[in-house]
Amino acid sequence: MWLLDDHGNFDRHEAIDTGREIPGETPPTALPNDEVITVRFGGYADGRGFSTGNRLRKMGFSGRLIAAGPLAPDQARHAFQSGFDAVLVEDDAAERQGERAWREAIKHSVGELYVSGIGSHGPERGIWRARHDH
């Protein structure tokens, strides 16, 4: 298994602490006290996991948040900007999609957004903030 973190490090690990796993479609209703939570996305086109990440951060979850499931490198920034710390990538996906594509995912994505969200681990500062916060 591979892990991409929000600094762009992409490394293979024999074992990864994925903590408690929850499905992307069901945000918890109460603040979990786990240190690590892995949100499993149901499908590549299923964006519910991003909102689940956002909800967890809104609740005040300050532990480690990992996105897992059939994601593409192009979705890494969506995960980081929705409050995730890392994206878990299976070996076969890393091989087909390309280690380099994952390593450079953030570099090739649109990083600077207009609005920077709460809990975002993305590369953005926020264009509105840059324009108005002198």
Binding site: F50, D74, V110, E112, W128
Partner: protein, 555 residues
């Protein structure tokens, strides 16, 4: 009009570069077609029936002459010399090649344009009144809100893989020229405190298989709560909208199944206790954007009344509208000449409109949801010169708002989802109805008539549900069949049309439509619109007229 600064410029350039890199990975197989499809769709690139189609956003329908020339350049160099203006203030190029699309996006970015989120299950191009900023009845210029929403929704991390597409429209006047209540979210802006608007938020409108007029979500929302509310509305939809059936995935179904009250409660619960600091700059940003739209570069002119005879008179009556500044007029340019394809324009025509706008309308052009163009600020004294130039270009058809001003989707001539053709139906109807309009006007009678929209499938891109006369093309046992709906309205009295009865062949449609119009003419009270007559008369009188005697189609 809004001008990109360095940040906007860098944003669209980065998005174009990202797409170029994605195309590269697609060609090596690092991205499968299943993975690439949502990515290309989010950049407006479809695979249609014959080729790739690129849909480019024209945010809130505003184009500069320079931008229009960029579109002409793309039409002439990357397509087959023309483009198609859609019902959602976009333009489509039907014959693009994947290998050229990154270059096209670079050229667009240089011109301050993009194809971001013109397709896919994300927040689409935000649309508005094509007369924004110049209409006499306007209370708030909706374009500043649209641009604010464009920025907020562009590349939004959370709302890029929604259950289905999401369409937002904004208006700022009582008259609805943007079919606001047929959108997933519709906003009506009103003047508020300190120059910031307040909004009525409508939710759950839409067309397609289950047409719905939007319901009021909340009235009189202060500016500060607009973005937090939209954010929560989208989040609840993202989490709870259906993903098991694409025909039940729009927010209108979620709201119908949950009930408006329960949906509202979920939204407010999501908002509760949220840190709103990401939206702290929304107000200064709105003010910054508004300043781009604030000044019309117009010295007040003399308020003159222009009238004329013949074709010029008809054009003045139909295509020229009052401007909020005395001495100026709003000129609509019809893309619905007799027999023309609704919304299509050649590169040459685009350049000609760009030149006219530069000379007579402050270098600005608008694109309407009825698939026409607008020169928003023409001096009354220049109207005759503009008309003559349009006559020379074949673009002077004086039929804005008449029945021959037909909306039509590309249909089965281009679209991979279509069940029947739309364009040939529109062309045949245009021939028939235009002849009628000219004849009626020559007789000194009122040539106005029902609005007429045509869709080539139930997805309703041709807005057939929202027309006084709607035509829906269906596939019946591998033959084209056309169903008629009556009584729909896209304006402030938004209504969904009712199905008249069994369908017709393509050849029968012109006679059927003419019978409907003649029946209306015979029963119409003085000054009554088709929609008003229909509301009073009901469908039976039309049904009898259409179905009692078979339609005789001349071979």
């Amino acid at each position: 009009m809004y001008q990109y600064d360095g940040y906007d410029q860098a944003f669209v350039a980065a998005r174009a570069a990202e797409f170029r890199e994605q195309v590269g990975r697609r060609l090596t197989g690092q991205l499968t077609e299943d993975e690439f499809k949502p990515l290309r769709l989010k950049n407006g690139l479809y695979l249609q029936l014959h080729a790739y189609m690129l849909r480019i956003a024209i945010p809130y329908g505003v184009l500069s002459s320079k931008q229009m020339r960029t579109l002409a350049h793309l039409a002439e160099n990357y397509d087959r010399g023309y483009g198609h203006f859609t019902t959602r203030q976009n333009i489509q190029f039907n014959w693009t090649e994947l290998r050229h699309v990154p270059d096209m996006l670079d050229l667009l970015a240089e011109a301050g344009m993009h194809a971001i989120q013109t397709s896919g299950n994300c927040i689409r191009n935000v649309t508005t009144d094509a007369f924004a900023g110049v209409a006499g009845d306007e209370e708030v210029d909706p374009r500043a809100t649209c641009e604010l929403l464009r920025q907020w929704s562009s590349a939004h991390p959370e709302f890029a893989f929604l259950p289905r597409k999401f369409k937002i429209a904004v208006i700022g006047a009582n008259a609805d020229r943007a079919a606001m209540k047929f959108h997933d979210i519709g906003l009506r802006a009103y003047p508020g405190e300190n120059g910031l608007p307040r909004y009525d938020i409508w939710v759950g409108g839409g067309q397609g298989r289950t047409p719905r007029v939007a319901q009021l979500f909340e009235a009189d929302v202060p500016f500060e709560r607009l973005l937090p509310t939209l954010d929560a509305m989208l989040r609840v939809y993202n989490l709870h909208g259906r993903r098991d059936n694409k025909y039940k995935a729009r927010i209108k179904i979620l709201v119908a199944e949950m009930g408006l009250e329960a949906y509202r409660a979920e939204v407010y619960a999501d908002m509760e206790g949220r840190d709103l600091s990401p939206f702290a700059e929304a107000a200064p940003e709105y003010e910054r954007i508004l300043a781009h739209f604030a000044t019309l570069p117009l010295p007040e002119g003399e308020d003159v009344t222009i009238s004329g005879d013949g074709a010029f008179g008809e054009w003045i009556d139909q295509n020229v509208t009052a401007h909020k500044v005395p001495g100026y007029a709003v000129v609509s340019v019809s893309l619905k000449a007799r027999g023309a394809i609704p919304g299509d324009a050649t590169g040459e025509e685009m350049r000609m409109i760009a030149d006219l706008a530069e000379r007579y309308s402050g270098g600005e052009i608008r694109v309407t949801h009825r698939q026409n163009l607008v020169l928003p600020s023409v001096r009354a004294a220049d109207l005759e010169a503009v008309f003559e130039a349009l006559v020379e270009a074949g673009l002077a058809t004086g039929n804005i708002g008449l029945s021959s001003d037909i909306i039509a989707c590309p249909g089965l001539d281009y679209c991979a989802l279509a069940t029947a053709r739309s364009i040939p139906i529109a062309q045949a109807l245009s021939e028939r109805l235009r002849s009628r309009e000219i004849r009626v006007r020559q007789e000194g009678r009122d040539a106005s008539g029902p609005t007429l929209n045509i869709s080539g499938c139930i997805n309703a891109c041709g807005h057939h549900h929202a027309a006084n006369i709607g035509i829906l093309g269906l596939n019946k046992a591998e033959s084209e069949s056309y169903q008629i709906t009556l009584g729909g309205r896209a304006d402030e009295g938004a209504a969904v049309g009712e199905i008249l009865g069994p369908g017709f062949t393509a050849e029968e449609i012109p006679d059927v439509v003419e019978r409907i119009i003649e029946t209306w003419d015979a029963h119409r009270a003085e000054g009554e619109s088709f929609a008003e007559s229909y509301a009073r008369l009901g469908k039976d009188v039309f049904k009898a007229a259409v179905y009692e005697e078979p339609v005789n189609v001349a071979a």
